[in-house]
Structures are given as structure tokens and as C-alpha cells.
Subunit: 318 residues, 2 copies
């Protein structure tokens, strides 16, 4: 029988995880193993965000492997750092696992989490491991603004271009595939399991002069609605400008679903949504999907001039 985390015990498991985090890059003053880590903040300010993922709600262990969950939980928080126009620097992680989970599961989780941290150029500098009924992952990420102002979701101005960088609808299509009992198309399933947010695009957007920036985690409609509300403007999107990925279109046709349901309503791809002054040349990876217009009454999101009927993104507690 394979060893479980229960049989290994906390002390040995923590030691194993600390070994698995590997060598610390420059910028980490003190890595894992003490009461707290110490990370350099050359800018004099630190960007700080936390995300809590819970089994059965954000992922299922029969649909996502340990590596998928490790990857995805890190990706969500690093995307939030990028969404401020900052560069990710470090990650600390709270991990809850049932005692009967195999040590190999934790190993696979950790390898993928560390790899995704590395893709974001952030170091995993600390954490906490506890026993729990469900698998729980809480990832807190830090970032560095490199002297720039943070780009909030509240800065969109009338006349700006609305642009997006990254995939829309792929993760939702992948979840729909899994929900129907299938494991392919693989590209969609992988998009759900291992989203790859365009971390560098956050810094590019900030440098290009983005007026507002945010991470699309709950669906384009819901999140652009949040940007509209925070900025006090209306975002007028054009559906013809929304890229519908080829596998998304194929799956939608097979399931007799309007692909826009996934593209507008689906979350978890962690594309970046931004607004730029109209005279700015959009940075690499961004494409225009609409314009910022004055709110006529409450700030809303329009698609092709109308308030869309598509069911919008994921909501908890519902």
C-alpha cells in the first residue's frame, strides 16, 4: 500500500514539501522553514492577493489530478497579481488534505504548483499543511509594481478601447465536456484543468498605459460588469470581435450550444480585460473587443448594443 499523508505525519510532510520547493531565487531573503518568509520589495510597495479553492466547488479530484489542482490554484492568484499590472514575486500556500490522501498526490500537487510559480517567475516561499475533510488550497501571491501605479478596475474612461488578452470560453467548454462524461477534446479539458494566464501581459498593459485592468475569472460579462460599475461607465462589446477558439466552436456545435454562452459567461480562463486610451497601440496579445461609452443610467455591459441575455459567470453560494 502506498503511504498516506496520515501515516507520514505533519512534520515529515512539511519537511518533504520544504525540500520540494527547491532553491530560492534572488529576491527571496528567507525561504520556507521559519515562522515566516521574507521577500524583497524593491518598489517599496507589495501587491497582495489571496484565493481559496475548495474541492467539490472549484475542482473535483476525479476530474482534475493533483498536478492540475496545484497548477490551477497558483495560476489563479498569479493572474490577480498580473491584473494589477504587477510582476509576480512570491507565493505562500495553505493546503488542507484528508489523511487518506497518498503522499504521491501531495508530491504531484507540489511539483505542478512550483512549476507554475516558476512560469510566473514567482518563488514558493512558505505555507501551512493541515488535515481537512475536503482538499483545500489557499494561495496568496505577492507582486512588484516596479515603480508604476497599480492599474485598478476603476479607471476606464469614456472613449477608451476595451481589449482582452488570453482565452475566453475554453475552460467553460472543458468543464462542459467533463460534465457530460467525456475526457476530450483534450485542448478544452486541459484549459479547464491547467489555465495558462498571460502573466506578462499585465505588465505590458500597464506599460502601454492601460486605464483599467482586471482578471476575467468569473466570466467576461460578470467581470466586465464589475469593471463598468467600478469605473462608472458602460462597456459596449461587439460579439463579432470575440475570438471563438476552434475547439470551442466544434464542441458548441456538437452540444448544440451557442459558443457565446461559454465565451461571454464562462470563467476560469483568466484572460486579462483592459481598457486603453483610443490612441494607444494595443500591446502584444491584446485585441479590441469594444469601446467604453457613457453610462445611460446604471453602468452596464452591452453586447452588440443590447444588454445580453446570456447567463453570466459563476457565482458562489448559489
Amino acid at each position: 500500500m502506498d503511504a498516506t499523508v496520515g501515516s507520514l505525519g505533519e512534520e515529515a510532510l512539511v519537511a518533504r514539501i520544504v525540500r520540494g520547493t527547491g532553491a530560492m531565487p534572488r529576491g527571496v531573503v528567507l525561504g520556507p522553514g521559519d515562522d515566516a518568509a521574507v521577500v524583497a520589495c524593491p518598489d517599496g510597495r507589495v501587491v497582495l492577493t489571496t484565493d481559496l479553492l475548495v474541492e467539490g466547488r472549484h475542482f473535483r479530484r476525479d476530474w482534475s489530478g493533483a498536478g492540475d489542482i496545484g497548477h490551477r490554484s497558483v495560476a489563479e492568484s498569479l493572474a490577480d497579481v498580473a491584473a494589477m499590472g504587477a510582476r509576480p514575486t512570491s507565493v505562500v500556500m495553505g493546503l488542507g488534505v484528508p489523511g487518506d490522501v497518498e503522499v504521491a498526490w501531495v508530491d504531484e500537487f507540489l511539483v505542478a504548483a512550483v512549476a507554475e510559480c516558476a512560469r510566473g517567475k514567482a518563488a514558493l516561499v512558505g505555507g501551512d499543511v493541515v488535515a481537512s475533510d475536503q482538499v483545500i488550497v489557499c494561495v496568496t501571491a505577492t507582486g512588484d509594481l516596479e515603480g508604476r501605479a497599480p492599474v485598478t478596475r476603476a479607471g476606464a474612461r469614456v472613449g477608451d478601447v476595451v481589449a482582452v488578452c488570453g482565452r475566453l470560453g475554453w475552460a467553460a467548454a472543458g468543464l462542459a465536456v467533463l460534465s457530460r462524461g467525456f475526457r476530450s477534446p483534450r485542448a478544452l479539458v486541459d484549459a479547464h484543468r491547467r489555465p495558462e494566464p498571460p502573466y506578462d501581459a499585465g505588465v505590458r498593459a500597464a506599460k502601454a498605459g492601460a486605464t483599467a485592468l482586471m482578471d476575467v475569472s468569473d466570466g467576461l460579462l460578470l467581470d466586465s460588469g464589475r469593471m463598468a460599475a467600478a469605473s462608472g461607465v458602460t462597456l459596449a462589446l461587439e460579439s463579432s470581435r470575440l475570438e471563438i477558439g476552434e475547439p470551442v466552436a466544434t464542441a458548441a456545435a456538437a452540444y448544440h450550444v451557442d459558443p457565446l454562452v461559454w465565451v461571454l459567461g464562462g470563467g476560469d480562463d483568466h484572460a486579462l480585460l483592459a481598457t486603453f486610451p483610443a490612441d494607444v497601440r494595443l500591446p502584444k496579445g491584446f485585441s479590441s473587443i469594444g469601446a467604453v461609452v457613457a453610462a445611460d443610467g446604471d453602468p452596464v455591459v452591452l453586447v452588440d448594443g443590447r444588454v445580453p441575455e446570456v447567463e453570466s459567470g459563476y457565482r458562489h453560494f448559489s
Copy 2:
């Protein structure tokens, strides 16, 4: 019927929590409500620590109220910041609650969490709220070293004085009281429910020249064993120097328990354990409990010259 978080929904709950965090102090560049917060790090480095607390493992909702859980989860992380010799600056929090939990529970949790942040002079700057089967709290805290080196657990040197600041055994005695079905003595039950780590003592220890510093969260024996191992020394404690609080002594007598079982083995009071050069005048609140001696073989903790038989602190997964 009172409103539940399920009936309120995520968006309204988050808005309610953001309102509840109140005005942000100076040092917070950007508070709750965006993809991430931004906090000043005047020192150019940030101290970072995370703690995950899970219902049924770290607390029981029938033994601890919402306010107790909010207070305690913040206290654990701020104590870790203090244990580096740093001043707490900010907190972000992941909160998982079952949908049938009342909104009033979350309100009470938040008020106490914000109050304990304020006691530590830290601001609650962000978080994430999700639905979960168990109540889950993951608190990440940041701190500022004010130009000092972090004080790790690895710096204890032969000849140093071992000292402690804060209570030992109170929370364990309180847990024993609750386990036996009682709700008093109130001082002990409160010590379990709402530990009050001496945050300022961490900075005082660092300024006084502490060579090693750590938070006693899993019991004096277990944690001083970790300091001994990290420093490659043996810690020789004297039981006669360990303060046994009056209610701890009374409860021990009533339950026919050796109070040292709680004082040496009990965690969760979050006292600070430190070592200082012998010629240092101990800072306010610290009292000597022993000396650092050369390790004769593996580094260990001795009590009155012997390896103690007392069962040592709490371990997860066991």
C-alpha cells in the same frame, strides 16, 4: 428566519465584508475591492506568513463563536510576523463557509477579525469568500522589519539565555475544560478561544538583540525542539522557572493533571520563545526559562537536565 450566506449570495456577501473592513490606515495604498491590494513596504522587504484553520481540527463551532474564530485565526498569523521580529502591516483572508451559515455569523467573525488586526496594528486589505462544507479560514499576514535583520529560529548560540514572553498552558487547559463539557473557568476557556499573542514583544526582542525567536504554537517542548534543531544546540530548560498561571494550576489540581503537561505540551497560546546573549538585559515581558548548551549528540530539549517524558504538542494527521 435569519438570512444565510447562501440566500445572500457571493456578490452581496463580499460587498458586506468590504464595507465591514472599514477605513484603511496610512500604509495601505489600495484596500479591498480590486484584484489585489497594495501595501507599503518601507523597508524594501516584506515578511509573509500563512496559516490555514479548519473546523473540527483547529476549532469547533459549538465551542468557539464566530468572533472567537475570527480573532484566533488573525492572532495566529500576526504572531508569526512578530516571531520574525517584525511589525504586522496587513492581512488578507480566505474564508470558506457552508451556505447555511447565517450572515450574522460572518458579521461577528469579521468584526472580531478586524479588531484583532487593529490590536496588531495591521489592516485587513483583502480576501476571498467561498462556499465549503466546513468553515475554513486561511489568514496571510505581512510585516515590516524596519531595517532590522529577520530573527530566525536558527540563531541560538551556546551560552545564550532562553526566555519566553506570554502565556504557556492556558489555551491547552481551556481546551481540556471544554473537552470535559465545562465552560469555566472562563479565563482558561477564553485563552483557548481568543489567544492574545504579545505582538509588540517580537520587535522588542529583535531590538534587544535576540539571537533566535519563534512563536510557540504547537507547545513549548515541540517548538523549542524545532529551535534546538534549527540552531544545532540543546536548550536546557528549568521547570521551576516556568510560570504556572493560577487558573492553570487550579484546573490541573481539579482534574488531577500535572500542570506541566499543559505548560510544556500545550500549544495555541502563541507565546514568543527567544534566546538572548547572556549579557543582554531581557526586554519587558520576557523571563528566563533556561540556557542554551552544546548539543551532546542530536540537539534536544532538556527539562531539569533530562529529556522530558511529557507528551509534546499538537500534531496534525495523527
